[in-house]
Amino acid sequence: MNHKSIIRLAIGAAICVTAMFISYSYISVVLYLVSYVIIGFPVFKKAIRNVFSGNFLDENFLMLIASLGAFCLKEYTEGVAVVLFYGIGELFEKHAVRKSRAEVTKMMDLSPDFANKEIGGEVITVAPEEVNIGDVLVVKPGERFPLDGIVVFGKTSIDTKSLTGEASPVSVSQGDEVLSGSVNLSGVVKIKVTKSFNQSTASRILELATAAASKKAVSERFITKFARFYTPVVVVCAILLWVIPVLLGQPFIKWIKRALLFLVVSCPCALVISVPLAFFAAVGGASKKGILIKGGSSIEALSKTKIAVFDKTGTLTQGVFEISQINPHGVTKDQLLMYAAIAESFSDHPIACSIKNAYGKKLDLSVIDKSEEIAGMGVAVEVNGDKIFAGNEKLMQKIGITADAQSDFGTYVHIALNDKYLGYIVISDVIKQDAERAINELKKLGVTKTVMLTGDAKTSAQKVSQKLGIDEMHHSLLPHDKLCIIEKIINDGVTLYAGDGINDTPVLMRADVGVAMGLNGTDAAMEAADVVLMGDEPSKIIDAIKLSKKTMRIVMCNIVFALAVKVIVMILGAVGIAGMWSAVFADVGVSVIAISNSIRILK
């Protein structure tokens, strides 16, 4: 269809050029008419159809009037030019829109159309929707993983770029989780499916991205509204521009020429297409980097971010607790660790887990007679009549033991056997590599204040915030405290909140821009967030803000440019300086330029 249109326009243009060189006037008029009809036919067809359905302000109809008018005034080349360039402009628009649409859907649609399922030693190809949890799939090198699963056979390296933006391949082997949408690079693997197609990462990403596209930016809505009024207003101006001078005794032809020029400029296409296209391209460009931005309104808010609030654990720090210090009193390090592990054996707290992991050996839980969790302090267990305590300073105070003072960053677990102090273990969370850079860059992007929220105690929280150069820090918070703090902060400016989505869904919703970190967050958090970072680097927020600022700049630039050119051409046309050719430029040329400008965002 596209090729046909191009050929049609080319033939029409060639005939028109021929006509320009023929001096015998009747033949040249006939040639002009032929080329006009060839080029303008689809426009006439649409115009007539739309007029019959009662739509007189249709752009095709206005083009028809303008070009026919030019013909009646014996300005044949101009008449043909109006429809010719209108046709070229339309082709270009369609091409640009299709191209970016294809590019964006390709980036977001990560699930393959098939899955190779293994049943009793045989491999059959089925649709991913038909695969059940627990089925075993065979994935060959070069294929995308159709569903989320766990590797049960083989090892390979996978490319998770389209999910996380992470460029280097990740190696996986038996027992490792693989997410749908990642590409198998080197070896054949079998995976056991853990999530149904609809729940799998790839479908969830597509779902979130498409559902969110409806959140339109203010500028997008403005353009839609504006377009409704622009055309009628310009058409009325055109009529007035012709009628008033004629009533005042001015020459009929001179003013109708100027009025026709208005009709050519009356299409708001440049804006109607380029503005939504810019937002669409931004969503696509971001997803290429592993950032899912939900719609134009999120882009708009991101670009205005003034205050950036971070949850500490899992966002600025890795949320993986590791033992950084073991400081025994009168026992060996191994003994201290063993006592700690026994004390924590029934606890699922991340700190307990890291102690147990560090101890490494299997614990005989049958020796434990009694275990008790002391809220906000720690745990106590009874083994063969002995009591082991593990917890913070408050717990030690409670049982009458003076613990060593805290000096370093991290969480202190003091251990006591009956009334004897055994020493302490320091567990600390590791600050993410790019956290400091992220905080620094935010300042350069016009963020006036950075805030860190954490449930941790003051000392460890302070260490992290000082190291990263964060302006304001709130520590020892319970989950609902975070919401109260956000409520207060939000009054001071556009607030971005980044968290890993565990326990902070309400905060993500309340903030002007909620950023959920990583794909590990809950579904509710991913839905509540405006931006989902598929990897867990906080510096991705910088990329997102930069991209949104660029998008808003391009959108504003397009709006100002398109309107300015149109208004200037109309003014110059009304006073007789600009001719039909400038009007054609103000219509088609401006559209093409604005669209090309929007497409820049994809790159």
Binding site: K94, V97, R101, T210, A213, C269, V272, P276
Partner: protein, 72 residues
């Protein structure tokens, strides 16, 4: 009931806006959204029985852009 339709041959951006305006005027729906970029229409129907309504939506779209096809 929220349902998503695919639109084919939706080539002009403000036709999409027009379609959205017209579909929103239907009394049998709560909300509607025509997405030009994703070539889709999402409609929130008041009732479960929507067969007749789908026909109406198709008609609206056809009237605005005769080449376009709406499919569930």
């Amino acid at each position: 009931m929220i349902k998503r339709f695919k639109v084919y041959n939706l080539e002009c951006a403000h036709c999409a806006a027009k379609m959205e305006r017209e579909i929103k005027k239907m009394s049998s729906i709560n909300d509607a959204e025509v997405n030009f970029m994703l070539q889709s229409i999402v409609v929130d129907f008041k009732d479960e029985n929507i067969d007749a309504e789908i026909g109406k939506i198709q008609k609206i779209c056809k009237k605005i852009e005769p080449d376009c096809v709406v499919r569930a």
